[in-house]
């Protein structure tokens, strides 16, 4: 008996140590895939990959800070839809409770108005608030830690130039043990190297700029890289696609079928900077927001650098995805619709076809064309269902383009029927999402 217990304990210890080794000690960093030598920024001889692009070289501190705040997409999490910019309160709905983003306007009591430069640096680089409390890694300090002090302080200068907003952050509702902030110290020790960006001398200056934008600023991996059981990014599967905030962030690697390997540089650049390319669909959900709040503001040279960088990530296939179908669907509503899809077809005819067309090519707005979109080619139908439930709002040069949120008046059964009809009609592989799965999705999405 005792012996059995001993063996069991030994096995547990081995498993734990093994896991620890695999996920912590042996785990690659976000940029390790590139190989080559890295050097401290000060020793790097090529063009500086940090800071703002050339076009803004002579801009003032606040203007530079604004650009960098956009590149870092601070607004994505610190601004509530329809709320005051950077006033926080955005809800992250997690399986173990809800976490709210903080107010980062310069309000002294409810925001960060009383923070010193050192306070701000410590929070952004280390995830530690001025009072010593640990921040949850929903705040991507493991990425922001790569930012130079100068860039972090430019962002601070920008934030401090904005009107202070009095808005207390709602208390988090995390359950034990997740409400124990001190535990984050261990998380940080394992997963936050607390180290500034080190240029890679084996790569071009452009690549280094792209890497800085993707890793230090845009924190692409936070959504696109799967996480390990410790909720840290698993860079062995870098950018292969993951679920974040209830939406699928698709494969960004150069894999031909399931990633962006088959996309031309021009297509990729256009998609990243506008969120829509004919034949590739439209970014919606969190990616749509990332484009509207962040990527569309980036200068073309930065977008180009980002493309150069993304091209070098090792290709990994996402086994959950097929190669997308890019052909238009039939113009006839009757084609390809079996009796089992009847309800989906009916609902699509009522609420969807006016914007999306029977072919998938929108008769009204290019942005509503979803031919070739990853979402309609995703057999999980996750993003299609999310778009139906929550709608999509995208900024366009002539104001917002809106797909309304149907989730309030359409049942889970109906949404599942529409989603399955859409993937079948327009995608490569039909989905079989259920009403219960739609119900689950509703619970997962961040507000």
């Amino acid at each position: 008996m005792k012996r059995a217990l001993g063996i069991a304990i030994a096995i547990v210890i081995v498993v734990v140590l093994g896991a620890l080794g695999w996920f912590v000690v042996l785990a690659p960093g976000p940029l390790d895939f590139a190989g080559g030598q890295t050097v401290p920024l000060a020793e790097y001889k090529e063009a500086n990959p940090t800071g703002v692009p050339g076009a803004l070289a002579n801009a003032g501190l606040i203007e530079r800070g604004e650009y960098l705040a956009q590149a870092g997409d601070c607004a994505a999490c610190h601004t509530v839809k329809g709320g005051k910019p950077f006033a926080g309160g955005f809800a992250f709905k997690l399986p173990f409770g809800t976490l709210y983003s903080s107010n980062i306007t310069p309000d002294k009591e409810t925001g960060i108005g009383a923070w010193s430069d050192a306070d701000f640096l410590k929070a952004v680089h280390q995830g530690v608030a001025p009072d010593g409390t640990r921040l949850y890694p929903a705040f991507p300090y493991a990425a922001y830690t790569l930012m130079t002090d100068e860039d972090v302080l430019a962002i601070k200068a920008y934030l401090f130039s904005l009107p202070p907003v009095r808005a207390a952050t709602p208390p988090n509702t995390l359950s034990f043990p997740f409400n124990q902030r001190w535990l984050m110290a261990f998380w940080s020790a394992f997963f936050n190297p607390n180290e500034r960006y080190r240029p890679n001398t084996a790569q071009s200056a452009e690549w280094n700029r792209g890497a800085y934008i993707a890793e230090a600023m845009g924190h692409c991996g936070d959504c696109h890289t799967p996480r390990n059981p410790m909720q840290a990014m698993d860079h062995r599967r870098k950018f292969m696609g993951a679920v974040a905030a209830g939406w699928k962030a698709y494969n960004l690697t150069p894999d031909k079928e399931t990633g962006v390997g088959a996309w031309s540089d021009e297509t990729l650049a256009k998609f990243i900077s506008t969120g829509h390319v004919e034949g590739y669909g439209t970014a919606s959900g969190p990616m749509g927001e990332a484009i509207d709040n962040s990527l569309r503001h980036l200068k073309p040279e930065d977008i180009k650098a980002l493309v150069v960088y993304l091209r070098t990530v090792p290709p990994i296939s996402d086994p959950a995805l097929p190669a997308p179908r890019t052909a238009l669907a039939s113009a006839s509503p009757k084609d390809g619709t079996a009796e089992a899809d009847a309800r989906g077809a009916e609902l699509f005819a009522g609420a969807c076809v006016s914007c999306h067309g029977w072919t998938g090519k929108s008769p009204v707005l290019a942005i509503a064309t979803f031919t070739g979109a990853r979402a309609v080619n995703d057999p999980s139908a996750r993003n299609v269902a999310q778009a139906i439930v929550w709608g999509v709002t995208r900024e366009t040069p002539s104001g917002p383009a809106v797909m309304p949120a149907f989730g309030h008046a359409y049942s889970n059964t109906e949404i599942a029927a529409i989603a399955n009809y859409v993937t079948k009609r327009f995608g490569a592989v039909p989905s079989a999402i259920t009403a219960d799965q739609v119900a689950e999705l509703r619970g997962q999405a961040s507000q």
Binding site: P333, P363, L365
Partner: protein
Amino acid sequence: MITLTINGESKQLDVTEDTPLLWALRDVLGMTGTKFGCGIAQCGACTVQVDGQAVRSCMLPVGAIGEGSKITTIEGIGATDAGARIQKAWLDLEVVQCGYCQSGQIMSASALLAATPQPDDKDIDAAMAGNICRCGTYVRIREAIKKAAGVA
């Protein structure tokens, strides 16, 4: 200046490219037969035809319409064979109640009839489900389309 061909006539419009056709028709050209219902392509009251296709004009920016495209509105649909037959059937069967949605209904139904001369119930469902009628004239719309098509 944007040039559009509407009911066979060339029209010049001094509006920005993002202006939806609906408002250009109603407020700029004074063609009020096309109705505003929802502004989000959910009700079909604003339906016009662009090259014979039923399209929601409330979401169609004038800048997205090719200069070679032919726009037909309710004011002009009677000049088409399908449109004239639909209008007649609508009156013969007394489809109309308040009538506000009927411009859009007739534009959708005419497009259906032109493309599918012998529509069955499924065709009618697919073509007409995007047009809401608050008075509830659906039963007669279905009958009238069949009558116009000679399948009733």
